[in-house]
Point group: C2
Chain length 256, copies 2
DNA sequence: AAGTGGTCTAGACCACTAA
DNA sequence: TAGTGGTCTAGACCACTTT
């Protein structure tokens, strides 16, 4: 036993060392619990407590009946938020693609098939969305809720909220894909000239983890984009939940 | 017992419901293990397994000898990456402050005292940094490593890497605060006209969690900014580790 | 059928905090 | 000192996957 460590910590430290040194590569199987019980002479629950520490760190995944493995993530999809839905005035779509397609084109490079499920409703938005949109207390917003899939695996949740007066009677009220040159805002005559993005990092809520089929110890980014027109009026607030294991967020800015 | 749930899941579900409904507010104490054992008639380890699920979700924190509490985070410090170290050409510092002070001024509003520990070394940078800087394989970089504190609590880790030829012999090689109008780059005559930010979300490495004194189930954002001059040459690569429980990342962009 | 991990128990002892 | 959570044990039974 190592000094100043519990038995479980000792097991965690040993395995962590092997993983971080590359001795155990991504996808490699860890010793079974029975083997470790023999090797260390500790009880089963103690072994499990040690391994659990690594699961909580995101280094190890387990599967019932299968074994324990060094975690190996998929390649991350890159979200370039600088070009996404941000060219509404110069309506020339980025690289010849419509803005609505951008999420799709970002992932469709290698024969992957993106898909999204859309539902539209009128709701009382979350507090911070209500404030961002400048709605009165108790005010309603049009919510376009999307679940985005790549190859049938869920990839992200995206909820857009609009002030009702701006979108009632437009195609945005229909639960269908809207892919127009310049983005969905331009498609209903709204011109976004500025946006404000807020990103926070947290563990997923229980329901989010279910919807996104997240492995243990997978945090998410909550990305909120609020778009404004030339008068400073908020046009849309879009809240995207991006699982950390399959996304990379990108900003490219000319600062001169 | 609820249908289709283990006993531990049942306990987790009950507590989660009380927390999410606001029945148990942030900072409120949960029942003790002894109480829950009586209330449910389950064994102690089962109770603990249930509570552990909520700890892993980031909803509950525990303290030995103290009890279990609904998690309550500090207020988040806002990092506006759009104005931070991004005005090197127009050397008028943002709002009259030097760029080096911006991290400090972001948190010093309410009598908080920021501080940072700096150390400088010459190292082989991590793979992705080396590529971003356009260094040859095995090439070296100057590393300015900073640990940032607010009121003696660690808040972030920030490692900046520079191509050696750009900074040798400059004040950037000294482990001291460099706060110059227009930022540290401008202080040594480098003009950044473009930057590229990459953000990924993950659980902290064991050492990061120690350095930052992170509570359980606290993910981090890894923010990498690479700055370029007018010729497209990479000037700096800055890797910042931002704990999710104390930061909010902000971008404000004019898109017209 | 054999091997894996997942759940649960009853009990012991330890470490820490607060009254 | 009493009450809290943290660690550990030996054993049982269950659920799942692979052979």
């Amino acid at each position: 036993m190592r000094r100043g460590m519990t038995k479980a910590q000792e097991i965690a430290a040993d395995l962590r060392e092997q993983i971080e040194s590359g001795d155990l590569e991504g996808g490699a199987a860890l010793p079974s619990e029975a083997e470790m019980m023999r090797a260390y002479g500790y009880s089963r629950e103690t072994i499990r407590a040690g391994v659990r520490m690594l699961v909580d760190e995101g280094l190890v995944v387990t599967g019932q009946g299968q074994g324990k493995y060094v975690r190996q993530d998929f390649e991350r999809v890159v979200w370039n938020w600088t070009t996404l839905e941000s060219r509404s005035r110069h309506a020339t779509a980025v690289e010849g693609k419509t803005a609505g397609d951008q999420w799709a084109s970002a992932v469709s490079g290698d024969g992957k098939t993106p898909r999204q499920e859309i539902s539209v409703s009128i709701v009382e938005p979350p507090e911070h969305v209500r404030e961002s949109l400048g709605l009165p207390e108790g005010g309603l917003a049009v919510k376009r809720q999307r679940v985005r899939y790549v190859d049938s695996r869920p990839y992200a949740l995206a909820d857009s909220y609009f002030p009702p007066d701006l979108v009632t009677g437009t195609p945005l009220m229909e639960p269908r894909d809207v892919s127009a040159p310049g983005g969905v805002l331009a498609s209903v005559g709204l011109i976004q000239v500025r946006y404000r993005d807020e990103i926070t990092v947290r563990m997923p809520a229980h329901k989010e983890a279910e919807l996104l089929a997240l492995p243990a110890a997978t945090p998410v980014a909550e990305h909120t984009r609020t778009g404004y027109d030339a008068d400073g009026k908020a046009l849309r607030c879009m809240v995207t939940i991006l699982p950390g294991d399959r996304h990379k967020i990108l900003y490219e800015v000319d600062s001169d």
